[in-house]
Symmetry: C2
Subunit: 311 residues, 2 copies
């Protein structure tokens, strides 16, 4: 199976939630994405880390069979992020961001990755996203993420990137901001006109929606009794979604729907513990069992009798 390639951030996170805290733990979009996708398919990462990034951290990727030859080591410190969640934990309050070596990140795609059929451009400068996309121009499915910072700050560059990708995986607020439309189906339609034929809108505790052509598919969020740490949930979702598609090998509707469910399954595990803890420990049987739980929570049968027609 050819690999799923992800380009994005690898970081050290410091996290506070009502349920505890974690200091300088391995994080970053490309990390959550690749660890998650590694349950489904071969994965390779393109990222940059500093000289504070040790063998211990690199081993986390290798232990999951992830190809780390695209992780560049630069002089300086690794990207560091510090955030706090409170109340309903729907949004993090950023306490500190140190871009460090990430500030001058210029993704270099190793020659062996250039024919990756599945590519995910995690949330980085849309100019870099487009640059990567042009290098892996043969990829049949290129997905990307973005954020309010780029939607506001580099709208034209972002539009060029969107015109070159197949799928956008984005949260509800960002979808509205990007499209300028409040109603989600209309927002998705407006985004599809910008390029991506597949639009996935993440709604946190309210699940996710898949839009392709005129088709809409809803999946709820898994009803957890407690969310310990939402950090990385969105990147984990994307990793499950793209990882399943890479494994399935195509984007027919049935696979896209299963991909949305696997994304939701993986995100539900991610938030059960701090940082990567739960994701690194989840077993394939647990993933399958939770997939079946999603099925049990959403499926119903048509009736065998129709309503009476009016007189």
């Amino acid at each position: 199976m050819p690999p799923l390639l992800v380009v994005g951030s690898v970081a050290f996170d410091s996290i506070q939630t009502p349920h505890g805290r974690a200091e300088n733990v391995l994080g970053g979009a490309a990390t959550y994405f690749s660890v998650t996708a590694s349950y489904f398919c071969p994965v390779s990462v393109v990222a940059v880390v500093g000289d504070d990034f040790g063998e211990k951290e690199m081993e986390v990727f290798r232990a999951r069979g992830i190809d780390t030859s695209g992780i560049e080591r630069a002089k300086g410190k690794t990207f560091r992020w510090s955030g706090q969640y409170s109340g309903d934990m729907n949004e993090a309050k950023t306490l500190e961001t140190q871009l460090n070596v990430f500030q001058t990140f210029s993704p270099k795609i190793p020659a062996g990755y250039l024919d990756s059929p599945f590519v995910f451009l995690a949330n980085i400068d849309p100019v870099l996203q487009l640059h990567v996309r042009q290098q892996v121009s043969g990829a049949g499915l290129a997905g990307c993420d973005t954020m309010n910072f780029w939607i506001r700050g580099k709208p034209d560059e972002l539009k060029q990137t969107l015109a070159a990708v197949d799928a956008l995986i984005i949260n509800e607020t960002e979808a509205r901001m990007l499209s300028g439309v409040e109603n989600l189906p209309q927002a998705a339609a407006a985004i599809q006109k910008l390029g991506p034929r597949i639009v996935v809108i993440k709604r946190g505790e309210h699940g996710a929606i898949l839009f392709r052509g005129n088709s809409i598919f809803f999946v709820p969020a898994f009803p957890l009794e407690q969310v310990h740490d939402p950090t990385g949930a969105g990147d984990t979702f994307a990793g499950g979604f793209m990882g399943y598609l890479a494994r399935a090998g195509d984007c027919i509707e049935a696979n896209l729907r299963r991909a949305l469910v696997y994304g939701s399954v993986m995100a539900s595990f991610a938030v059960e513990e701090f940082g990567l803890d739960r994701l690194l420990r989840v077993r394939p049987e647990e993933i399958e069992a939770r997939f079946q739980q999603f099925k049990a929570m959403t499926q119903f049968e048509s009736d065998d009798f129709l309503l009476p027609t009016e007189d």
Copy 2:
């Protein structure tokens, strides 16, 4: 088929939304509920109206085959409500409430209704709800609604009512207020301990959840491009839910799930136009077609291959 009995308010509503306004139109919980349920099963209404309630209004019920012999006519004016929706229209701002004849409403159940197997106690004083429940003690399925006013104002009386019903259909905010628990599955479990074995939590644009025993079932809201008037959506939902169950004749899981979908289908029609306009015009074929659209938006198949197990 024995009738589904509903006890609740019949009113004149004045409504303002960003899409228009309607003055003194027929409304009230028992009205939305009974008009909706009438698409599924025979329905009878117990309510009170004033001497301003004319033949024209009564004919709305009769034209849908609804038994109005339990609609008492009292001296005075009919209950009047005036409200305004703005922004995301998730909640009405009440501009004026005139209880009028509803203030001294004491539901009288006609002898012919006492053996109704399906009963719905719409949002009225829990003391009255319990009084009705005791009169139709043979009903196999008694459902009820309530609101923040009673949860805060008559918590002990409400608990007595809940101990005597089978199903509670309530919105998200009220479920949290009633249980004192933020997490919805935990809130539903706490409410089940108070009596109702079936708990339905309505989440507006985020759909609805059915809890029974350890089983959970999610249905999304129908993705409408525009909501014109949310008035009566919750009562319409309850009318579709209870109406389908009365039609099906039992509460096996498959029927409860279909009932939740039919409730969502009917609510999605209700909000498309002002007041009862759309509900009075919807055709059974449209109801069935939208039911199938819900199916198409939520169903997925398991994969035929499993994830690789770890080495």
